[in-house]
Amino acid sequence: MQMPDPNPAVLSKKARLVARFLSVLPADAVIHDETETRAYECDALTAYRCPPLCAVLPSSTAEVSAILRICHEEGVPVVPRGSGTSLAGGALPTADSVILGVARMNDVLETDYRNRFIRVQTGRTNLSVTGAVEEEDFFYAPDPSSQLACAIAGNIAMNSGGAHCLKYGVTTNNLLGVTLVLMDGTVVEIGGAHLDAGGLDLLGVICGSEGQLGVVTEATLRILRKPEGARPVLIGYDSSEVAGQCVSDIIKAGVLPVAIEFMDRPCIRATEAFAHAGYPDCEALLIVEVEGAADEITEQLDLITAIARRHNPVELRESGSAEESARIWLGRKSAFGAMGQINDYICLDGTIPVSALPHVLKRIAEMSAEYGLGVGNVFHAGDGNMHPLILFDANKPGDLEKCEAFGAEILKLCVEVGGCLTGEHGVGIEKRDLMGTQFTAADMEAQLRVKDVFDPQWLLNPAKVFPLALTAGRRAA
């Protein structure tokens, strides 16, 4: 993956920059020693690494503002960072950049159950937001699988989703307001505890902007009362086509499950070997979960299992207890870990129209044979968000490149059938050079113009999201 050459003028003023940072931050919040900056050399896309010039760990919005003002004056690129779990290389530094990490900003600022929101500093992890309201039986809905580690900052920047977003939506649908620091240090409040901000929907633009428009330091999030209960059913089929039809029929019947997850045979086998969840050895497995009171759950599951039976499942297992529910989810939740046991993998997350599912799975299997690389598919079937995991051997020269080429083919296929390159992980560096397959020059130019308004000098996370050739002129100016 190509990254821009570091700017020698920036590299040469490291000492001065560090001194300026130390004038606004405590010494332990400025990391400039070359062994210590290594801790920030990559995110969860570990194939790509580059230590930053230095890293700063502010504790408040005011400190973030002071740092950005300095970087703006000095013309230094800044890469915002939450917990570094991005799978797209969104938080990958360049050698001439400053990592601005919000990990120390993890306070709860306000909880308001009557108005149903929580205001937090964005370094707080996703799961600990729910943790802060759990005792009142509330929760924060978006639930990326990485929720134990990932920060609200990264969730907002990537507009992250999770297994339950079929019902509750993704981050942007649960975000009410942010405190945003612009590259020149200006602090702005967008949205808040009320539902409508006046004027253009800037909050919607900030969410999913991958750290390129401003640094989000605080966030107002919608919290919801926990449902009375939830219960999944596991359904196995001999063909992914039939499984896809079953999903479509469930949706058409007017049931809205909280989650519909899908796993294919390679993925089922890998997770069975790893987690022993007792999954059937079949072509396609669905986990459908519904919520509500006991009787409501039964009513919905009866409807779902009746539909599922019409398609002759090889297995149909309705959970009858919390224990059985946990077992049904066990395999799905350990899918990534299980695949990681077999091999190195890259995880894609293109989205397709649900109707294109059988065709896309068939093509992926064909390509897998052509490239000689294994693939497991596990994904959010209700909304068509695929997660093909392509296996490769990092120690085998050329394997990563082959794997990436295969991945690119899959993503192009997703776009071809009417879908998109990324449903929840973001573009980062990983899909940057594929943007042209989904967007025309005018589509991308429109987006670049938005960045021109928020960050005219192109200093915030500049080498991400768009093909480098397209942004070269703007980054150099």
């Binding site: 009557r114 108005n115 539902l195 929907d201 949706i251 909304d383 589509d443």
Partner: protein, 372 residues
């Protein structure tokens, strides 16, 4: 008047425009500052281009009448989740509202508290910007984080960033049944307490309004019949300590009741200006008292106040210490020309908004001045 029938025609019309354009869908939502300019009508750019009930997706050209979209969805037992308001009665306008107009004003009704606003269901747009460039963003799939989210930027931009040619939605199943719980005679403070209690319950309330002097507190639940009756019973038990609860399940009555809230029918045809105030729900009663309205009505659990105020009155100063903001929805042209119709933004945000408009519409020809 310009009347393009294809997206290419639309692009050509905008690229070749010699001066300001007044963008008209169905001509029913005359919100914003009056715009002088040649009329650009989207009525010719109509038709549903894709509808897959099994994938909960619908795509339509911007000039498609809303009624056509709703009928197509109803035929498959589905609907737009966000319950768009019909402005005709309140504004005294005629014409057929278009789906593009719904998006351009981000029209969202009572169900917003549960299903989100129009912008939350909108998954893709195609539009022509002020330079005449055709731009697409988002797509036809529910989950999409590829590039910046200009879909949200377009929703509620009142045609000032670009002219929509096509819009795509995530739709939802129409529930088997709906019921309304009503409580009369509560003062505004007590009513909002009740709404908060209902919305803070696990019973999936899809409407929470308070119409003083009318039906009073209204709480809606929707879903499968057995589930609705269960939740109604639970909510009733929860709310009884606050006063008597009447349950309404007759479909016509339930629908009519929520349509009255959605369309603010109470203020239709009555003298006075109409403002829409967005606040933190528990601040609602204080805000309503502060502005000295002739009459108010609360939706969104108290967070949306519809106020009928004496003609020409500026209510913003009274809201200053409370937070939230007011949009002028109905007023004479003089008032709308003299005063910002939309809540004034703090300087740095106003600069960003102006910057975005300058990028997308460098000649300033799309509904100029409408948003201030």
């Amino acid at each position: 008047m310009m009347h393009p029938e294809t997206e290419a025609d639309l692009a050509e019309a905008i690229a070749g425009a010699g001066g300001p354009l007044r963008i008209v869908g169905g001509g029913t939502r005359g919100i914003g500052r009056p715009v002088a300019g040649e009329v650009l009508s989207l009525a010719g750019l109509a038709g549903i281009t894709l509808y897959e009930p099994g994938a909960l997706t619908l795509v339509a050209r911007a000039g498609t009448p809303l009624a056509e979209v709703e009928a197509a969805l109803a035929a498959e037992g589905q609907r737009l989740p966000f319950e768009p308001m019909d402005h005709r009665a309140l504004l005294g306008t005629a014409g057929a509202p278009t789906i593009g107009g719904v998006v351009a004003v981000n029209a969202s009704g009572p169900r917003r508290i549960q299903a989100g606003a129009c912008r939350d269901s909108l998954i893709g747009v195609r539009f022509v910007d002020g330079r005449g460039d055709v731009i697409k963003n988002g797509g036809r799939v529910m989950k999409n984080v590829t590039g910046y989210d200009l879909v949200k930027l377009m929703a509620g931009s009142f045609g000032t960033i670009g002219v929509l040619s096509e819009v795509a939605f995530k739709v939802l199943p129409r529930p088997e049944m709906a019921a309304t719980l009503r409580m009369e005679g509560l003062d505004d403070e007590a009513a909002v307490r009740v709404l908060c209690a209902a919305l803070g319950s696990p019973f999936e309330v899809s409407g929470a309004a308070h119409v003083p002097g009318g039906p009073g507190v209204m709480i809606r639940v929707e879903g499968f019949a057995a589930s609705v009756s269960y939740r109604v019973a639970q909510l009733r038990a929860l709310l009884l300590p606050y006063g008597d609860v009447v349950v309404e399940t007759e479909p016509e009555a339930v629908n009519a009741g929520w349509k009255r809230v959605r369309d603010v029918e109470a203020f239709a045809g009555r003298p006075g200006d109409v403002c829409r105030i967005s606040v933190k729900p528990t601040d609602g009663p204080r805000a309503a008292a502060a502005i000295g309205a002739r009459e108010v009505m609360y939706d969104w659990g108290g967070g949306l106040i519809w106020a009928l105020v004496p003609e020409g009155r500026d209510i913003r100063p009274a809201l200053a210490g409370i937070g939230g903001h007011a949009t002028l929805i109905r007023a004479g042209a003089e008032t709308r020309a003299a005063r910002p119709v939309f809540p004034p933004e703090p300087a740095p945000l106003a600069a960003i908004s102006a910057g975005l408009r300058a990028q997308f519409d460098p000649r300033g020809i799309l509904n100029p001045g409408l948003m201030g």
